[in-house]
Symmetry: C2
Subunit: 353 residues, 2 copies
DNA sequence: TTGTATGCGTTATCAC
DNA sequence: GTGATAACGCATACAA
């Protein structure tokens, strides 16, 4: 080891400087540190991994499926995870299951070859085979999204869709709108039901709940537009629509534009996720605090590794209203996304550590 | 090593079975292989990495910047890279530079700690500090996109924008359109100039080149719509617009819809990249062969590692026209993305290895 | 506070 | 065709 020679100490002392600086005499510490910087020394992570019998790496499954869907924020989340992983002395190993329906072999590979020692799960669903398998094999994991099939599992972080939508409703009320409908997914999906309940609660609280002002559609843009059209008709000018996703809000947006209506001035729209679509189309939306989510998940896994406080229940973060022109009653530009991206126009409404 | 004991051979023989099966007697091979499967043995990759003094891993920089942009296909490319990496006995290590303007420390970290032994670069630009640094430090890398500043560097793969756009023009001609304009970026960007030249060439070849039917805009939706409006006016009904990106095509799409025109039936549109936008809005677009690009880049790096044929010049792939309703002169649905996603409606036009 | 010895699991080398 | 030996770089335990 060059550093050891240069600083005239043993290899072991260098190791101590890196890993347990408090054990080293200040003078030695300084000298060795200087040499480390000078020579650009970094511990060989493969050797460390071998010695410690852990990889300091997290597996993250990417979905191989047919490309990306509009309004998706998984890639933003991946970036947040990547950034957060640096501060937790680990790195990510992305992988894609050969067969989306049978992801376990891919997980097994990574575990058996000790390339990773934990996983971050996303898109957990009913009958998801992964949580049970990971539990049975003693592999730590944390999930973005509740693990529905294992109620006692607490290493998850989620976003409070109901409160988010309720905040969106209140944002509309504060901006002078009062006729507020909801465009969501058909009943049955946990996330969709959660978001819809926020609309019911907040409009009821404000005394403006109209059950009929609700429609369902599947995720695609065309279906959302088709469902939005009669709803916009029913609610009428000056009304608004809170949507379960940005894609749905965009569906409504297209309907408005084709009728010559201006989003915001003529009819309010609120989306969900604050995706690229929201920014480009000037849609007010509910931003998921992905930075916090990523940080929290990595904290859990780090504590699981090193010992520390582990959560006894899941963590729920509150989304934030990002106000844009689609809820600006004073008027919006004719072209999409023209007239500023409303930077600094954000309304904060909560959020946790 | 359990497998060695179970199969009554030495560790080394197990290693040979895994890495050099041809050196092992068929009978032994079979016995050991059976035990490997039975016990689920996988080589410890940290140990292998340490022994071989290489990580078998590739660094991929993610851009931490302000979220994702509409029409971006980098995440799709990342998935393709991830999938391809499996077949090349390696894995990816995504990372984000703390400071986008000064990415080198992040690269240095990964190299010095031997977490990766090569990089895949994307978004190479003029005055990009990365290629020179990597070269000077002897770190192999391959680039998606030409490396402009180092003409002699040949480990890159790119997509032929000019030919792609020309194919788009021909696709329009085949579908009966003849008035073909171009909406692109201001002159000066290599990619934008490349794509525009395809329009000039193909329309000139067909004798339908009209220099005035061209407009420029920056990447955003609003600017594209603003630039598209007068162009659509000038070209007139029954005309078409080939665009440098799907976002631009979408900008034109919004203009059409607001005028009550139906994309395809009333005015043709062709985008570029075949992003999520193209699929959702029914835009005909030019698909970059990202699977081939990823595979090619990994091949280069694998050959660099193991020794093999290395490219003496860059590789250029040809995009593929993906036909959708925006170039269907017979008519398109009223709502976006309704009426099928045109699966199986692809026109293949080239492609390599 | 610092140094020495050991082994993590693998594979390259070389002897058999 | 197979096996013994050594070494990759680090961190743990323990000795000095």
């Amino acid at each position: 080891m060059d550093v050891a020679r240069a600083a005239q100490v043993s290899r072991q002392t260098v190791s101590n400087v890196v890993n347990r600086p408090y054990r080293v005499a200040p003078q030695t510490l300084e000298r060795v540190t200087a040499e480390i910087l000078r020579l650009g020394f970094r511990p060989n992570l493969a050797a460390r991994s071998l010695r410690q019998e852990r990889a300091n790496a997290l597996g993250v499954e990417l979905h191989a499926g047919s490309g990306r869907r509009m309004g998706d924020i998984r890639d933003v989340f991946l970036v947040e995870l990547t950034i957060a992983s640096r501060q937790h002395d680990s790195h990510l190993v992305p992988f894609a299951a050969a067969d989306f329906e049978h992801p376990l072999p891919a997980y097994e590979d990574l575990v058996a070859s000790k390339l990773v020692d934990a996983f971050v799960l996303t898109d957990t669903r009913h009958d998801d085979p992964r949580p049970a398998w990971l539990r049975d094999h003693g592999v730590p994991f944390a999930s973005f999204g509740r693990v529905w099939d294992e109620p006692e599992f607490s290493w998850w972080v989620d976003v409070d869709g109901a409160t988010g939508v309720a905040d969106g409703v209140r944002h509309l009320l504060e901006n002078g709108y009062s006729r507020i409908g909801f465009l969501g997914w058909p009943a049955g999906s946990p996330i969709g039901d959660d978001r819809r309940s926020g609309w019911v609660e907040a409009t009821t609280d404000a005394g403006v709940f109209v059950p009929a002002w609700r429609a369902d559609a599947l995720g695609e843009l065309g279906a959302a537009a088709a469902a939005a059209a009669p709803l916009i008709e029913a609610i009428g000018p000056g009304g608004t629509l809170v949507c379960a996703s940005d894609v749905m809000a965009l569906g409504a947006w297209t309907v408005l534009r084709e009728r010559g209506l201006t989003p915001g001035a003529d009819f309010g729209l609120v989306g969900f996720d604050d995706s690229d679509l929201a920014e480009s189309f000037g849609l007010t939306s509910l931003r998921q605090p992905l930075t916090d989510v990523a940080e929290n998940l990595l904290s859990i896994l780090e504590h699981a590794r090193l010992g520390g406080n582990l959560p006894t229940q899941g963590t729920v973060f509150r989304p934030t209203v990002v106000a844009r022109n689609s809820t600006n009653p004073l008027g919006a530009p004719a072209a999409p996304a023209t007239g500023g991206t409303s930077a600094g126009n954000r309304t904060s409404s909560g959020g946790s550590t």
